[in-house]
Symmetry: D2
Subunit: 438 residues, 4 copies
């Protein structure tokens, strides 16, 4: 390691890669990368080359001695890596489009990490991540696996339960987005805001919020429930919460909570958008095409500003900040997905949770919060049950478990609808679900 | 106590009273009751007299030396009682009809113990039960409180958290009904079937089922998921479950699970029935009128068979069986609502659960089950969160908590609909919600 | 099973066997045994024949159709057995004598189940019990293993952790002895007394005590701490407790608590007895010789009264009562060693505990007690830690773990003394510790 | 707070005060103290003046604008304080001498925080700390209470259970001493070593140890158990551990573990020292006299080097480091005594533990460690039981509880010796135990 780090990025042909590269460039002082291996599969070869060349130009422009390797050979990429990042998408955006479209036929919300979409993305992704973990065990057993691939909570759970890899962290940009939103609400710099996060991926709550270390939760709750302030709050969350609900909840929500506390509204909004401008995957497919056209420009040597529209803001920042803190044993506090270890009393000690952790060279160490507020324990437990049964179905190819997982998901109206959706989606994603079609 | 027991039945004017009296008569040998005090409020005086006279005729016919007292004086009834049973209905069936009708306007299921109906029945009932507990503490501190009043789980939770009464048991006929159903499915006598029950009131699961002590769960699950058997199974549960769901769940459900695992179907069924023949309360109102006409007949000295249609079968049997086992320290196993005490790991140790218990003179002792299956922990936790927040709202008159409770209930489509329903129902039940209108 | 039960008794040549046979005869109506296989090892052949012939005479006299088989072939004995009882002693009483003598040289208490004696009896016994469990898995996978072999708690822990056998119960006569003592103290029949037991084997507490179902704990504590009553109390416990200690403890102790709450006195008493009349093993060796002389008498066809002096009173009764309740699904309550399953909050859910259980055909179901009193949690946890580390050492042959186990035992004065005793005892028991001398 | 901080130091006349003042001077940049109130009782007035004048000279020499107030008026000192530090000793060193001397008569170890000494120091101290907490609640409710007074774990437990003060931290220099020792063992700078601490005050273990963030536990365990290295290890711990014990324990011990894992040796060592040069209190009494003679020197304006011999090295550093991190929301990691909050699974969530915490302006946040190693859970639980029962005895004046607490302490040979020691020490400390002599 004396000569610098080796990073392997699986799904390196992703449109996000320039974000990540930008992050590595910015933190090069602290995080001396020697080799960046972008690896993808045959079907992603063209994109890999486009985005890989852009990465090379970016690094060259920054004048840094980072070697960029583009490859389809995952083993070569993993060999002796220090960090492995995963940002792949089994079945590409076309599969995501099915995750979104098919459920809508049943009047059920289709979304990448929630409901049937989350289940099937998990079913497709988890066998691949298990395979990657087996490779890591063999080729770079000391590496940290930093997973951005959704559903990140379910994937982290699966790694903890169905592989021998212990050095895994799941990452999401939702918490950082909440911090940004609160900073904006209070009109202060982001770095003056700290939040105690706890819950699950895309089901995380802010249990307390501090300005310069002093709790300002009461003030924030007041602002969030102030009728005068509604338009601002709507901008953060999309729809705006009932003041009585937020006052009694006495915690910060995340945008994904809309799917659960406003399920009907979100379903209708999603249906309307799907009709008018296509589902999110369909929109992104178009955006990505444009992005890759931009990336091809041999004069482009920066992350193009249009990437922002793609979503996933701060992801790169969050990821590189995490990797840097692990590498440097920084011991700062970041919200990540890791083994609970008793930090949240009502969740299993051996399950993945999303929680504020001290980030050390030995990995994230969750800060004990006692327990979640009574009002949220049920929903959080329910999503954890969904994640666990889904991960089990994915790892074993058990059809009944897939039906069970979807039935217990709060977005599903009945066991029968669950079974019908599973049946149609199994067929639609057949080629990416080999364990279910043996 | 040497001269026999004193029982005080609050809500003694209920149409169920003949059931209870029949049960006391049947078990008189083991349960030597000396005084039965039927107490009701002014508004229920006429019914109390009708049903009270029938009770007297029944006892006379049985030739037993039980004195029946009819009174509006709760203090006199409670004084030195050995057992207090509660079967009252704040606001009578008219209030229940509102619990059912109003939510339907918002496309939300209205039902006595679930969703908005459960919340508002709790809000009306809990302050009264707290008041009764205060009286018990003063007038008969050694008495056991046997509560049949719904929502029985929420009411038991409230007694445990907001009163000094420890000797409380909540009772429901759902578990006994499941046993009956399984006995019929296997075509064996009821007493050869034993089930390990665990969960919450109206949210209870059968974790294992035994015939003559030997587990027959696999056989039962096979029968329940056998397509040939469907018509029978539908008769038990109303709608019939997806075989894949039940196989993966690997536990027995209760009829109330339909509200959660078939929420859409149940909503539509309920709306249709409400339109065609009235809501359940409206149907029961009519039934009760007919029943009381029958009860008036001075020649009637038995429980009339028409009472069966009223619902609540086995309630009397369950109640008298419980009281007898407590009184005689019988140490048999019955499923009741009591303090968890660690028996179910993922639920709070100090919360009420419905679980198979050894029934002793010192009360029910729950049998440790380890934990609920992963798949059901979420929903059960969610209902427990709903019960706790509802109980807190009821005990304190906190409007925000009422909105929160309804928002986190799985049957509610959004925080806004929750708030709207709460607002309309608060107004509709105003006279029975004094804590919210101070 | 229609033709009656098959029981296999490992260590069948034990002097206790007539007790067990007497028990089987008494309960034959409920427990229709067809075959009783007494199995022993080559070294125990002579005793097996003596005691086996006595058993045959006893059964013949009772006129029961139970076949008694005497064998050295464990596989034949286990094949298709319904119940397997274990009462063997690896290294015989000679090994026990070493367990007692050697520690005394270091001024450490030597006793069969406590301190160094308990550790080494565990180290010798556990590999054998694991071997038996492997046979059971193969030859009679549906059998229940009823273990009387000490240290019964450690052995049950080892079976739960290091074998695939789930149907295991550890049994001890200490709780029944406490009940007898309390019955005598209150001068009432034994069957009117019920006690809530919880803790570990030989470290069990009575958390409440009932007479005819009504708690009389306060009265019992008063009697136990009444100076007028001291002589009686001393007879139960040997030494007599400080009233202030018992009042504040507010629980019933067991005789083995003397080793921990009176460690100095017990050490001195044991040393004195060892000097004056030999250690317990040495005394028992002599007693056993006399017993076997009696057993040889071809006219003897009953359990000779002299067996009572051997100790272990009620063991047979406890064992046959347990087997009968399992066989008949009796669902009565008995204190046994079984998996905790959350019944005692501060002990691991997957560890063996000694606790009041409902005894069903599906095995013992522990009754949840919440948690042990604060004052006893530490000592109980410490013994559990000792049992777990000892069991691990025994199952793996790890010398360091053996030293650790003894160091953390409360009866050991230091890590160095622990190491010295382990070294000397390892050498002394070498032939029975093959895993440590590979 | 804009004008700087107010610190109130209760027991300000302590010989340690120059340490603390030196710490405040060193960190003045980060910790802008405006007022330092040294408060003591009438009996300590002379010392307060001596040490207070030294403090003034030290601050003057440093050229800092810190006002030093010397007072016997605790209310004036507490009024609007930002931090309250407590370092008082009820009954002075004379009482400690009794804590040490009396138990030795019974062949029981007498020590300030362990066994009878710990119990009686707790019994004297806890009512005073409760009184101080009541004052804090009234006079400076936002202040942090930083307690150095021993037994610090028991005192923190008592504050959490018997007062309304939540902002309390207990502090000890043992963990920092272990870090220093390991740094020396590895011959590296102290700040390159990090240790995961968990357990209780004076019963803390190092679960992992890192050099520059990388675990070096295996290497450290090897060094600690290397026979070649023994002399060094003995210097850290006093006596030296058995290699097999430490290898199997696989954790770092603290010096106080000698009292429990080498109880016999420590008792003899203590008796010998008491005979030859007096007990620790007697030695310290002499040292203190000399120190105060030095302090009187009007030319002395620094902490005299002789203070080091007094013991308690790094205390000041630990204390000021803690206060600074709270004040500046530094979020670094320090081992302190705080509410467990689920961080250590086998200890009560609401009990005080000593554990590595993130230190924020909102107080210490414990890092979840899952659970302690099996081998240490028992002893730790036992000390926690001792602390809880002792704290309860102290807060309520319950004699029986005091006997119980001492009986369950691992250093006590029997309930009778416990009772005898309690009786003699109650009498000896009578004037400082008003609750027991009402
Ligand atoms: Mn995300
Ligand atoms: Mn019910
Ligand atoms: Mn025993
Ligand atoms: Mn200390």
């Amino acid at each position: 390691m004396s000569k610098g780090l080796k990073i392997a990025t699986i799904g390196g042909g992703s449109s996000y890669t320039p974000e990540l590269v930008e992050g590595f460039i910015k933190r090069y002082e602290e995080l001396p990368i020697r080799e960046l291996w972008l690896v993808d599969i045959e079907a992603g070869k063209e994109k890999l080359e486009i985005v890989g060349e852009l990465a090379k130009r970016m690094i060259k422009k920054a004048g840094l001695p980072i070697e960029v390797h583009l490859t389809l050979d995952r083993e070569a990429a993993l060999k002796d890596a220090d960090f492995v990042t995963t940002q792949f998408r089994v079945g590409l955006l076309e599969a995501r489009a099915k995750d979104e479209r098919i459920p809508l036929k049943y009047n059920v919300l289709g979304q990448e990490t929630n409901g049937p979409g989350g289940l099937f993305k998990g079913l497709r992704t988890i066998p691949v991540i298990i395979d990657i973990c087996n490779d890591i065990e063999r080729l770079c057993p000391d590496a940290w696996l930093i997973n951005f691939t959704n559903p990140a909570g379910m994937v982290t759970e699966a790694v903890l339960r169905y592989t021998n890899i212990k050095k895994v962290v799941g990452l999401c940009n939702v918490p950082i987005g909440i911090e940004m939103g609160i900073a904006k609400l209070l009109d202060v710099d982001h770095d003056r805001i700290k939040i105690d996060f706890a819950g699950l991926n895309h089901m995380v709550y802010g249990l307390d919020v501090y300005l310069d270390g002093v709790s300002v939760k009461d003030k924030v709750i007041n602002l969030l429930t102030d009728p005068e302030n509604t338009s601002f709050v709507k901008n953060i969350d999309g729809l705006g919460w009932e003041p009585a609900f937020i006052r009694a909840l006495n915690a910060l929500t995340c945008p994904y909570h809309n799917y659960y506390y406003k399920s009907q509204d979100m379903l209708e909004k999603t249906k309307k958008e799907a009709e008018e401008k296509g589902t999110r995957a369909e929109v992104v497919l178009k955006l990505e095409k444009e992005l890759f056209e931009l990336y091809k420009d041999p004069n482009l040597a920066i992350k193009p500003p249009q990437l922002e529209e793609r979503g996933g803001a701060y992801y790169s920042d969050a990821a590189v900040r995490l990797i840097t803190s692990i590498y440097t044993d920084k011991r700062d506090i970041q919200p990540v997905n890791t083994k609970n270890n008793g930090a949240i009393a009502s969740l299993p000690s051996d399950s993945a949770v999303e929680i504020s952790c001290v980030i050390t060279k030995d990995g994230p160490k969750p800060i004990a919060i006692g327990d979640l507020p009574v009002a949220v324990r049920g929903l959080v437990q329910q999503i954890k049950s969904f994640e666990r049964i889904s991960a089990e179905a994915a790892a074993t190819g058990d059809y009944d478990k897939a039906v069970l997982a979807l039935t217990i998901n709060p977005l599903t109206p009945s066991d029968t609808v669950a079974r019908e959706i599973v049946d149609e989606m199994m067929e639609a994603h057949k080629e990416h679900l080999p364990l279910f079609f043996q």
